[in-house]
C-alpha cells in the first residue's frame, strides 16, 4: 500500500509538473484596444502599447497642397484648334498643342527661408486635360507663407539628358546638339499670315544655344515664375490655383510677331531669350481654397 501511494504521489506530482511547464497560461497584452493585443493571452504581463498622438489630425503640423493650373488667354479658359485668339502683335491664331514642365515649387517665409516641393510636373493639356492638376503628395509645414514661386522648366541640377523614362516616352527630349536635357514647352498652333493664308507656329522652349565665332555655349534657360501677391496661410490641406496667361508669351516685355517668329525657334538663341523674358509675366496667382 505504501508503495502504491508513493507511486501515485510521484505520478500525480510529476504529471502536474509536466503539464504545468508545457502548458502554463499564456501571458501577454490582454487589452483589445492596444496595438499589441494578443487574443490568445490569458494573463496580462503589462506589455500593452498604445498609438501615440501624432496621428491625431488636430495636432498635425503639416499639410498637403494640390496645385491646379488654369490655362487662360485674356482671362478666358482656352479652347483648342479654332483660330480664336489675337495676340499683342495682331496675329490671329489658334492653339493646337500645349505641353510644358514646371518644377521645384517653393513657398517663402517672412524670414527669407523657403520650403521646396522637390520634383517636376509635366502638363499635356490637350492630350491629358487632367494633367492641369499637380498633387505632389508632399507634406509641408503649416505656416503663413509670403509667396509662391516655381521653376518653369528644369534647372541645371534636374535638366539631365534622358534621365526620366516618362518624359522619354513622351518624346520630350531636347536635342544634344542644342544642349540636351528636355524641352520646357511646346506651344503650337496656326495663325493667319500676311498672305491671308494659314501658317503653323511651334513655340518651343528649352536650353538656349549660343554660337560665337570661337565657342558654342549652352545657356540655362529656365526661369523662376514668381506669383505676385501669392501670400497664403496654410492651416490644412489646400488647393493652390495658378493662372497661366498664354497671351503673355507674345508680349511683356517683347511683342512677339508670329509672322517673323513662327518656326525653327529651338536653335534660335535670340528667340529663346525673348521667351525667357516674356515668360516671367505668364503665371499669376489664382487663389487658394
Amino acid at each position: 500500500m505504501k508503495t502504491l501511494r508513493f507511486i501515485m504521489t510521484v505520478t500525480v506530482v510529476g504529471s502536474i509538473a509536466l503539464f504545468s511547464s508545457s502548458c502554463k497560461k499564456r501571458e501577454g497584452c490582454t487589452d483589445p484596444n492596444a496595438i499589441n493585443y494578443d487574443s490568445k493571452a490569458k494573463v496580462d504581463d503589462g506589455s500593452c502599447e498604445y498609438p501615440t498622438s501624432t496621428t491625431n489630425p488636430t495636432t498635425s503640423t503639416t499639410a498637403k497642397l494640390t496645385f491646379k493650373i488654369n490655362h487662360l488667354y485674356n482671362n478666358q479658359a482656352i479652347m483648342f484648334d479654332t483660330i480664336l485668339y489675337t495676340n499683342a502683335a495682331g496675329n490671329n491664331h489658334s492653339i493646337t498643342r500645349l505641353r510644358y514642365i514646371i518644377s521645384n515649387i517653393r513657398l517663402y517665409k517672412s524670414n527669407g527661408d523657403s520650403v521646396m516641393i522637390d520634383g517636376y510636373h509635366f502638363v499635356d493639356y490637350k492630350g491629358d486635360p487632367a494633367s492641369d492638376t499637380y498633387a505632389p503628395g508632399v507634406s509641408i509645414p503649416k505656416d503663413n507663407y509670403t509667396g509662391i514661386a516655381f521653376i518653369f522648366g528644369l534647372d541645371s541640377a534636374d535638366n539631365i539628358s534622358n534621365a526620366y523614362p516618362d518624359l522619354n516616352a513622351a518624346n520630350w527630349n531636347w536635342p544634344e546638339m542644342l544642349g540636351g536635357g528636355y524641352h520646357f514647352m511646346q506651344f503650337e498652333g496656326n495663325f493667319i499670315d500676311t498672305t491671308g493664308g494659314t501658317t503653323g507656329f511651334a513655340y518651343h522652349m528649352g536650353t538656349a544655344r549660343k554660337i560665337t565665332p570661337t565657342d558654342t555655349i549652352f545657356e540655362q534657360n529656365w526661369f523662376l515664375a514668381r506669383l505676385q501677391n501669392s501670400s497664403v496661410n496654410i492651416t490644412g490641406d489646400a488647393t493652390v490655383f495658378i493662372n497661366m496667361n498664354l497671351e503673355q508669351w507674345f508680349e511683356n516685355p517683347h511683342t512677339w510677331n508670329l509672322d517673323t517668329l513662327n518656326n525653327m525657334m529651338m536653335p534660335n538663341y535670340a528667340a529663346q531669350k525673348l521667351m525667357n523674358d516674356n515668360g516671367r509675366s505668364v503665371f499669376t496667382f489664382g487663389g487658394v481654397q
Binding site: N171, E188, G200, A202, N263
Partner: protein, 387 residues
C-alpha cells in the same frame, strides 16, 4: 480516508489536465489552416485542391513568360504595358503564335494573320494593299508588328480605332475585305480541332474556347515581337560605330533647321522611334481617308494618322497609311518638297508654301543612310517568331 485522498488527487489531476491540455489543431505548416499554437494534430488540416482553383485541372498553372527587354528600352523607357487580365505565359505565347499562322481563323481557311503580316518583312505586307479571302483589296497598308507593348496609349491601327492588342485582333477576322469570317464560326472550328482545345486548356484553364481567349493568345505572342537590335542601337551601346555619312544623317534628323524628324519620330532616348501619336503630315490637301477624324468625329482630327516607327524601314515598304510611296527616297522627297496644306496639317510641318524642309541632295542621301541604321536584321530572321 485513503480512497478520498486518491479521489481528490485524481480530480485535481483531471482539473489540471482539462484546463491545460495540449491544444489540438492542424500542425502542418503547408496547410491552409495551419495553427502555430496547436500542439496536437487533430486531423483537421485543409489543403488547396488543385482541381478547384482557376479552372485548372490536372495540368496546373501556366508557366510565366518573361519578355526579353532590350537594354536601351530598359534604360530609357517605362515598363512595357501588359494587361492584368492577360499576363504573358509560355503556353499563351505558343498558342498565340500557332493561331497567328493558322488560316483556320479565316472564312474559307485560306488566310492567316501572317498572310498579310509576314515575318520576313517585319510582319508587314510588301503589297500596297492586302488582298482578302474574296480577292478584295483593303484600303490601308498593313502595318508592321513590333514593340507593341511599348505603345502606352494602346491605340492601334493607322486611325487608332482599336484599344489594346487584344482589341485589334478582333477586327481582321470578321472584316469582309480581310479574313471575312464570323467569330462563332472561327471559335467552332477551333473547338472542333484535334489540338486546340487542349492548348486553350493549358494556356487559360478554359474548357470552352471563345473569341476573347483567341485574341488574348494572339496578343501575348505579339508582345514578344521585340525589335531593339539595330546598328544604331549597337552604336548607342558603344558596340559599333557609324560612318560619317550616317552620323551626318543623324544630325539632319535631329536638327530643327534641317530635317526636324525627331519631334514625331523619336530620338536616341526614345528607342521606339515614334511618338505613337497622330499627326497630319501634309500628304493631301483634300482627304479621301479621314483617318483619326473618322473615329473621333472631330474635324480637327481629319487627315491625322499614327506616326509609324522608323525601325526596319528596308522591310516595311511601301510607306504611309495608303502605301503611296514605294521607296524611302519618295518619303524624304515628300517632306522636302511635297507637303500639301490642309487645315489640320501639323504646325511642325514647316515651310509648307515651299513644299517642306528643302533638303539638298547630299542631305537627303545622308538622312537615308542614317534611317537604314535602324534596320534590325535579327528581327526579321528570328526563328522564335516563326512557326
Amino acid at each position: 480516508m485513503k480512497v478520498k485522498r486518491y479521489i481528490v488527487m485524481a480530480v485535481a489531476l483531471a482539473i489540471t489536465m482539462s484546463s491545460c491540455r495540449k491544444e489540438p489543431g492542424c500542425i502542418d505548416p503547408n496547410a491552409l489552416n495551419y495553427n502555430p499554437d496547436a500542439k496536437v494534430d487533430d486531423g483537421t488540416c485543409l489543403y488547396e485542391n488543385p482541381s478547384s482553383t482557376n479552372n485548372n485541372t490536372g495540368s496546373g498553372e501556366p508557366t510565366p513568360y518573361e519578355l526579353q527587354i532590350p537594354q536601351l528600352f530598359a534604360q530609357y523607357l517605362p515598363e512595357p504595358y501588359i494587361p492584368e487580365d492577360n499576363p504573358l505565359t509560355v503556353e499563351g505565347v505558343a498558342l498565340g503564335k500557332k493561331l497567328f499562322y493558322d488560316p483556320i481563323l479565316s472564312g474559307d481557311g485560306t488566310q492567316s494573320c501572317a498572310s498579310c503580316h509576314m515575318p520576313d518583312v517585319a510582319f508587314s505586307d510588301t503589297a500596297q494593299f492586302s488582298t482578302g479571302i474574296d480577292g478584295v483589296l483593303g484600303g490601308r497598308n498593313a502595318m508592321p508588328v513590333f514593340n507593341m507593348a511599348w505603345n502606352y496609349g494602346r491605340k492601334f491601327f493607322w486611325d487608332g480605332r482599336a484599344l489594346d492588342l487584344e482589341g485589334q485582333a478582333l477586327g481582321p477576322v470578321v472584316n469582309p475585305v480581310e479574313m471575312h469570317n464570323t467569330w462563332p464560326n472561327a471559335v467552332a472550328a477551333l473547338q472542333n480541332h484535334p489540338d486546340y482545345p487542349a492548348l486553350f486548356k493549358a494556356a487559360f484553364g478554359a474548357d470552352q474556347i471563345d473569341s476573347m481567349l483567341v485574341v488574348k493568345a494572339i496578343a501575348q505572342f505579339e508582345r514578344t515581337l521585340i525589335s531593339g537590335n539595330s546598328k544604331f542601337d549597337r552604336y548607342l551601346m558603344g558596340i559599333e560605330s557609324l560612318t560619317p555619312q550616317e552620323l551626318n544623317g543623324f544630325n539632319i534628323f535631329m536638327d530643327e533647321n534641317a530635317g526636324d524628324c525627331f519631334h514625331c519620330h523619336g530620338n536616341p532616348a526614345n528607342p521606339l522611334w515614334t511618338d505613337n501619336d497622330f499627326h497630319n503630315n501634309g500628304l493631301d490637301s483634300v482627304f479621301s481617308d479621314l483617318g483619326l477624324g473618322a473615329i473621333t468625329g472631330d474635324p480637327n482630327d481629319n487627315g491625322k494618322f499614327k506616326t509609324p516607327s522608323l525601325r526596319n524601314l528596308s522591310y516595311t515598304a511601301p510607306y504611309m497609311h495608303d502605301g503611296r510611296f514605294a521607296t524611302l527616297d519618295e518619303v524624304i522627297e515628300h517632306y522636302s518638297t511635297g507637303l500639301k496644306w490642309s487645315p489640320t496639317i501639323d504646325p511642325l510641318m514647316k515651310k509648307v508654301s515651299q513644299g517642306g524642309v528643302q533638303l539638298s541632295a547630299q542631305q537627303k542621301a545622308d538622312l537615308k543612310a542614317f534611317l537604314l541604321t535602324l534596320n534590325d536584321d535579327s528581327f526579321v530572321t528570328n526563328p522564335d517568331f516563326r512557326p
